[in-house]
Symmetry: D3
């Protein structure tokens, strides 16, 4: 792990050259696809135990704890993923732990990143904030610590409304939402709690709320994605980077 950490630290140094650069979380990285990296970064020399990659500055003690409760040594990053991690470090100042967790296998990491970035950052009739709101409302239904923390922070950041983030975490029904967004979250949470009961009447309610059929797909796909991620996180006791807790309060 040491060596891997070193290379990341190096990247951190380089990254911090330009002060003031906005540091949205994982979801804000442009393009998002782990495609062609021109100059491959030096690969880590050997597999590391799954531990958090520290922030440049001294990290809170809690970040020394393992990222997940499974002993899965980190694999050698592919050039694409190495570049992607570097980008995270440069822009966010840290590597989201979910990426560290998946990094024991490059195919798994790449497919996760590709799907995540398409869903959460790709083109959609839903704003990025709306997608994050779905993420958190679903994660609240599933009581997923990792996703509530990381995406709760994202809702606070995108909305610049710390309360909205708390509403999504605690009970989305208390948020003062317009009809469209309320319908969106009602659909996503019903789909989470009792997927078998979702029917045409539910889709019609979304259409009446102004959503296109493509929007309905996106709502469903984001809700579905977090029903997956919530379970991977809960199954592995995944721990969020502590830095999220203080973001955009």
């Amino acid at each position: 792990m040491n060596k891997a950490n070193k290379s990341v630290k190096t990247a951190n140094k380089a990254a911090s050259a330009k002060p003031g650069e906005a540091k949205p979380a994982l979801h804000a990285i442009k393009g998002g696809k782990p495609v062609l990296v021109k100059s491959p970064p030096k690969p880590a020399a050997k597999p590391a135990a799954v531990k958090p990659i520290p922030l440049k500055a001294a990290p809170p003690a809690a970040d020394d704890a393992p990222v997940i409760a499974l002993n899965l040594p980190m694999a050698k990053l592919t050039p694409a993923m190495s570049s992607y991690f570097k980008k995270c470090q440069d822009k966010l100042g840290f590597i989201p732990n979910v990426l560290v967790a998946y990094a024991f296998d490059m195919t798994k990491l790449e497919t996760f990143v590709a799907m995540y970035n398409d869903l959460m950052l790709g083109e959609s009739g839903l704003s990025k904030l709306e997608r994050e709101m779905i993420a958190v409302a679903v994660s609240s239904q599933n009581r997923c610590y990792y996703c509530l923390t990381a995406h709760g922070a994202a809702v606070r950041q995108y909305s610049r409304d710390p309360l909205l983030g708390e509403h999504m975490v605690m009970n989305y029904r208390v948020a003062r939402l317009n009809k469209r967004q309320r319908a969106m979250l009602d659909f996503a949470v019903k789909l989470t709690a009792s997927p078998w009961s979702v029917e045409e009447a539910d889709r019609e309610r979304l259409r009446r709320g102004g959503f296109s059929d493509r929007d309905i797909w996106d709502i469903s796909a984001v809700a579905g994605f977090f029903n997956m991620s919530n379970r991977v996180a809960s199954a592995t006791d995944m721990r969020p980077n502590t830095v999220y807790h203080g973001q955009a309060r």
Copy 2:
């Protein structure tokens, strides 16, 4: 419908002309391995409405119905996806409807296919049958018509035991499983029903059942994936190809 079908068929015919980049294969392809496609197929000429792609032989009437309840015209297949569809057609005799459903957007289709094939067909300490058993037990908990049908057929095929498929669909607890497989399904179903309650004791039970930490990841990831797919399918009223119903009975 005719036109859409024609364009896909054309694409399929043309497809194998140019050597192709390796792509994961979908589970139902015989043997299950993502074989190299020699030549990229010509792209489909224009977007088609989302309707089922017929079997070569006359399809059952029900397959004329839309694949999903959303009006999302099929996009032009990328060469990789065109080749992949052709492979499906060649080996299975049909294109699984989930692929048709995702084909309105090539990025979504490709990321779905990549994740699916890695999880269900890639290397793992879990056999392909075990992964399909998880898929069906999870889909039973979520009462997902599409996944129960398509993956119920897969369990029947892989196991050559039609009853096992029915057990997974109806109530996995009635199957005569060894301790290992029972522990695996108990974990997957608990993770599905109450993900917040999964803890170290649950992982320990799997370890005592002989599973490695990597296996635990795979169980979780497959269970998570179907918690996603079940919801996308239920949200869109996705319909399975009718051919599944009769397979391996």
Copy 3:
């Protein structure tokens, strides 16, 4: 399974000496009451352990397993029940395992058969298919392996629509039903899941769907009956005859 199927067919051929006679399972036996046996069949010579009664031809291996997980030796059949079993064998080619399970006690067997046949085969404003649809939708809510198997086959047979059987087993909401039948199943499943919450408004919905008060009784009684049978079957780990699985696919 080919062989098993063949042997059943042979038995069926023998049984169906009179062409054109309908051959649905247990539920199709005319009259249904175990009374008036013209020629009493020979009584079984001595109590047997609860094991399946073999088809005339060699049964599939799985049918050698015990019918239930309780050790309850079969009693001597009364003349009425002996005649009834013979009729089952003649017309169906097998004795449904539920009858074998109840046969440790003739009073229990006779009262079960009498109630079953009245409810499922007697006069009613509900068609036999509709009653079977209720049976399966209720059994799906209760995840009862025995009843889903035996009555799923009945839905396939009566409807000549294999998909309808699967819909009932997996999630009745995906079936394309007319309003009447949907209202009927919604009532039956609500009555199953939360009987305390059924009220006049629910009955009114059935009346608006065209059901008479007598029909409402019948829907309730069939739903109630399967809430009983599902529990007897689950409590005793009752196993369906394997022949059901292949019927009417």
Copy 4:
């Protein structure tokens, strides 16, 4: 169905020729034994609307209300049922409303009575009180007004312990039961709430509590029966005779 009825009548006549033949009695009959009825009572002259049959003495006002919320005129009682009703009237002072409710159809009434009496009054390793305790604990889980009232009274009567009846109605876990009875009720209530989850370990717990396999059948069958009756009662808004409320307080 005429023919069937006729044959039943014939059978009944024949049957009653032989003295000593057990006939089903309803639980509330003192002593609980199905005593011989010497002379068949006169059949009711014409169909009646479903209203309670008054006690000999002036009934409480509430008993003028319809027995169920369905308009199902009472049919002409068969001699057997007429005799049975008379017996109820003689011994209990009233006809239990559930009998009135079923009396729109003699086959349904007779099969219900036959099954009820076998289960609740027939030979069993379970005492009659224990069977009533199961009835009430199950009905409490299902919040069934009719059955809680009628069988709550039965528990009070059989046990001569009014508190025990209240415990069964309100929350069987508060009763001070011996291990055997607690295991019995735990099984019955689990079978009621989540029948799909009952497995060999649950049966083993009963066996360790001293129950035979036949006892396990009886526990299951009684629990099953009330899962049926609870639903018929709730579906039809069945009202208990008011007299139950004051019994054995």
Copy 5:
């Protein structure tokens, strides 16, 4: 607990010297506040209508059992509480066990009594009966033996309708209520079962039923209070005075 018991018994003896007028339990004590009682209340002058079993006479054996399953010796009553207990004994003929349970700590007893009496006996747009109906419907949802017993008796007493008490205990939906009261109980039970789902539409339904905003507070506060009391009672296995069982039947 010996000492505590002694003091209670002594109080009972003193109190029961004068035969007591029947009075509803705790809830009926005027004013309700446990504050300074200037002069001992006049003893009731004549025998009870509802025949409470006086503590003077031999109590039923069950009342010798501990009130709760925790070993918490009764504290010395403050003058206010001593006076209050005396009032209970005089008017009711017994000390409600919940008071005995709280009497290990005078602050806890006094705050409980103060809140209880304000809520259940203070001024409100809800009648005392309505508040007791809420108490029982909530306690039924939570299956709380203590509160169902004590407040079921109160509903019977206030309403002079024994059946109404049973309806509240068993399933409030079977009671023939006017729209206002039904809306009130629907709100209280929804608030009990899924408080997170209560929203403006639910309050609007109450307003349409004729309730003021102050009434809505009171419905909520009473429902809330019994959600507290139910849990304290269940957590401590609190046992009601046996006298309740026979009251107002």
Copy 6:
């Protein structure tokens, strides 16, 4: 509400004249009883450590919104409550909204405050932090926005561990607790989710965790209290002071 608001604002102005010592919210006021305050309490002498945002300065916009969704004008504060509010303002810098909500009726306010302060601040074998942990874990089960916000802040303050507060809010099972505290929260949450199922075995588990019977009472009483408060808050759409959100992050 204008008038009420005015009086509260006035109180705030007066109160904030003296800079306040940092104190946890409501729960920190010593003694807690709303009894006659002879002389105004001494104002706190120095600036707050936790930097509450004083009401004197422009409050966040959200705090202009009504505290609850019911139109209940604030009553004239009794001297005791006036003094208590002043103490809150002095020590916390604000009046917790729950107090404002109850202030439409002085008896209700006083009894609420008395019970709250005894439970949360009075003597107990449970530390104040432990009581707040119970408050938040219960409120999380009930998804109560008000209580999660106000008491989540309290957990952060008492523990000086912001993560612990988040754990309690999101899923208490992810917190790294010692056995004692885990048992305590398991009990409180089980008591919240299914109070009817709490039995002697649950109390025994607490005793084995080192809790006395008095401690068990306190755990139960705190859990019960928040089951009440959660419901009052949800029923009335109670909104927390925005200042909580930023506290002790």
